[in-house]
């Protein structure tokens, strides 16, 4: 590195050191002044007035104007030089600091750029991995769909010929058909999820009447009616703003869960209420409830409360899918447990009320 502290160093872009010029003037100007005074006084006293060199007027004026004057100039210039020297040193110091700062900024910028590049690379790698994962999931699900079509169709065909089948074979085929249907639903959920996560899931939002949707979902999820259903839905509820099919899917999920965890004969409660421009739809069961430490985890992907032999049927995707679906349409799912003193869980979804038109001439 160049030694920028030396006062003699001439840095690129800087003018030459002004002290050098002042030093030259400091010596030259008194000498010139002395020469002028000596010349003038000699001409005046020796030639015009005819005085001798020892004359007091001549020597006095030479001493006063020719020596004391230049000495005063010399001293003043020395002081100016000193001031200039200080300024020059300060300037050089400033330049040095500037350069050091620039160097440090450049180093930091380079480090930052390198880190940014590393982050961008890591981000691209992660995106690539995520894409690979999505592609893989889509490919596997896609490849499963064709054989599932043949499998389901074959079972449908076989089950049509009830009288030709021995009862045991018929029962077995029914079980296989049920499992195949479950697998089909799972594949569909996985595909929907990968579309939701990739932001490619198409929603059709519109006003939806809550009561008919809730009643339809309950009829679908609880066809055999081994749980009584208690309704607490106000009759004049305004429509919610949602994707009808997806909202029904979410409610179906809640009701199926309630059905799975409620002891037989205990009621499942279906409720709805409007508050603060939103509508909350709730499904409450009288099951064992969800312990507070796992309440957030039940919405995680593939999370299942019970594992191993005690685990009920399911893939651990239902609530995760429901939450993703709800979020995609501006909804929010919450879980409250225990819902009663004896336990129970209340799953609810809150959605905005469908916008109301201004008072127009409408009916």
């Amino acid at each position: 590195m160049t030694d920028v502290t030396s006062s003699h160093a001439i840095l690129p872009g800087l003018r030459p050191d002004p002290q050098v010029i002042v030093r030259r003037i400091q010596w030259a100007l008194p000498l010139v002044l002395f020469a002028i005074v000596a010349g003038y006084e000699s001409w005046e006293h020796l030639i015009l007035k005819g005085q001798s060199l020892a004359d007091i007027h001549f020597t006095g004026e030479i001493l006063f104007f020719g020596i004391l004057g230049p000495v005063a100039v010399f001293t003043a210039l020395a002081y100016i030089r000193h001031l200039l020297g200080e300024q020059w040193t300060a300037r050089l110091e400033l330049e040095r600091l500037n350069r050091e700062l620039e160097l440090r900024v450049a180093e930091r910028t380079a480090a930052l750029e390198q880190r940014n590049a590393e982050l961008a690379r890591a981000n691209a790698d992660l995106q690539h991995l995520d894409q690979m994962k999505s592609d893989f999931v889509a490919l596997v699900s896609h490849e499963l769909r064709a054989p599932l079509t043949a499998l389901n169709g074959g079972l449908e065909l076989a089950l049509q010929q009830t009288e030709a089948l021995p009862p045991a074979a018929h029962r077995t085929l029914k079980v296989i058909a049920r499992e195949s249907e479950r697998l089909t639903r799972f594949v569909q959920t996985i595909l929907d999820l990968s579309r939701l996560e990739a932001g490619k899931f198409n929603l059709t939002l519109g006003p939806v009447a809550a009561l008919p949707l809730l009643q339809h979902a309950v009829e679908t999820a609880l066809p055999d009616g081994h749980h009584p259903v208690r309704w607490d839905v106000p009759r004049d509820l305004p429509p919610v703003w949602a994707d009808e099919t997806c909202l029904e899917e979410i409610i179906l999920n809640f009701v199926r869960n309630a059905d799975k965890y409620s002891p037989p004969a205990l009621p499942i409660q279906i409720g709805a209420c409007a508050a603060d421009g939103r509508i909350v739809l709730t499904v409450t069961d009288h099951g064992p409830g969800v312990p507070s430490e796992i309440q957030e985890r039940v919405f995680e992907r593939f999370y299942r409360g019970q594992r191993g032999e005690n685990a009920g049927p399911g893939w651990g995707l239902g609530l995760y899918f429901a939450r993703k679906l709800a979020e995609a349409q501006g909804g929010q799912i919450t879980l409250r447990s225990p819902a009663f003193e004896t336990g129970g869980a209340e799953f609810s979804i809150s959605l905005p009320v469908a916008e109301s038109p201004e008072e127009t001439g409408d009916v």
Binding site: T149, T184, P207, P357, T360, G361, V363
Partner: protein
């Protein structure tokens, strides 16, 4: 007996589906790829074609284009992709309906019946409702304006068709509720205005000055272009 041409490279599926459709009273002819399918189309002149999208040689889209150059027979696409752009592409190429794998045979048979009956009725225009540039396909539940699809919720679709079927007449909110939700949901009457307002936002070129759905103050709504 209606004859169905089944173009799919999945031999297991075509065999099972052929048997099933046979049991439902349809004659089937199977082709393993697009070229074979086109040959069978010339020979047999089927009443309906079931066409798989992913096939070797000529894929389903390519085959559909060729079919449409020579035949008006209805085509139901069998697709493993349910993404919107794929489906729209199918319709733009002239498909009449589509089912996404895995489908149940009973569901497919219902679609076949619907498409065939639509085909029979299309001449009298009963299975689609068209007023000016607004077209409602009742079979696939699709609404387009000037060929541009308008996504509607199932409720909005029912509301629109309820009004369109009685075009020119005034339909009261009471009647609309009975038709769209059912008589047991009379409480929805108070919200009909809101449903209609949202429907207008989607189908009207200028919702402030409705072109299709008009108010008859104190009576109801009238669909008229």
């Amino acid at each position: 007996m209606s004859e169905i041409l089944l173009i799919d490279d999945d031999r297991d599926l075509t065999q099972l589906l052929g048997d099933y459709l046979g049991g439902q009273g349809y004659a089937t002819r199977v082709a393993g790829d697009g070229r074979e399918g086109l040959r069978a189309l010339f020979e047999r002149k089927p009443d309906l074609i079931l066409l798989d999208v992913s096939m070797p040689n000529k894929d389903g889209w390519e085959t559909l284009k060729r079919i449409r150059e020579v035949s008006e027979a209805p085509v139901i696409m069998l697709t493993a992709r349910s993404d919107e752009p794929e489906v729209l592409r199918g319709f733009s190429l002239g498909a009449d309906d589509y089912v996404t794998k895995p489908f149940s045979f009973a569901q497919l048979t219902a679609r076949i019946r619907a498409v065939l009956s639509r085909q029979g009725q299309a001449k009298s225009g009963e299975e689609e409702l068209r007023y000016a540039d607004l077209l409602v396909d009742l079979g696939v539940k699709r609404v387009t304006r000037n060929g541009e699809p308008i996504p509607l919720t199932p409720t909005e679709f029912k509301l629109l068709t309820a009004l369109m079927r009685r075009a020119g007449e005034v339909v009261s909110p009471d009647e609309l509720v009975k038709e769209v939700w059912g008589p047991q949901y009379a409480n929805e009457i108070g919200h009909v205005r809101r449903y209609v307002w949202h429907l207008r936002q989607k189908i009207e070129p200028d919702p402030e000055h409705p072109r299709y759905i008009h108010n008859e103050r104190g009576y109801g709504y009238r669909f008229q272009v």
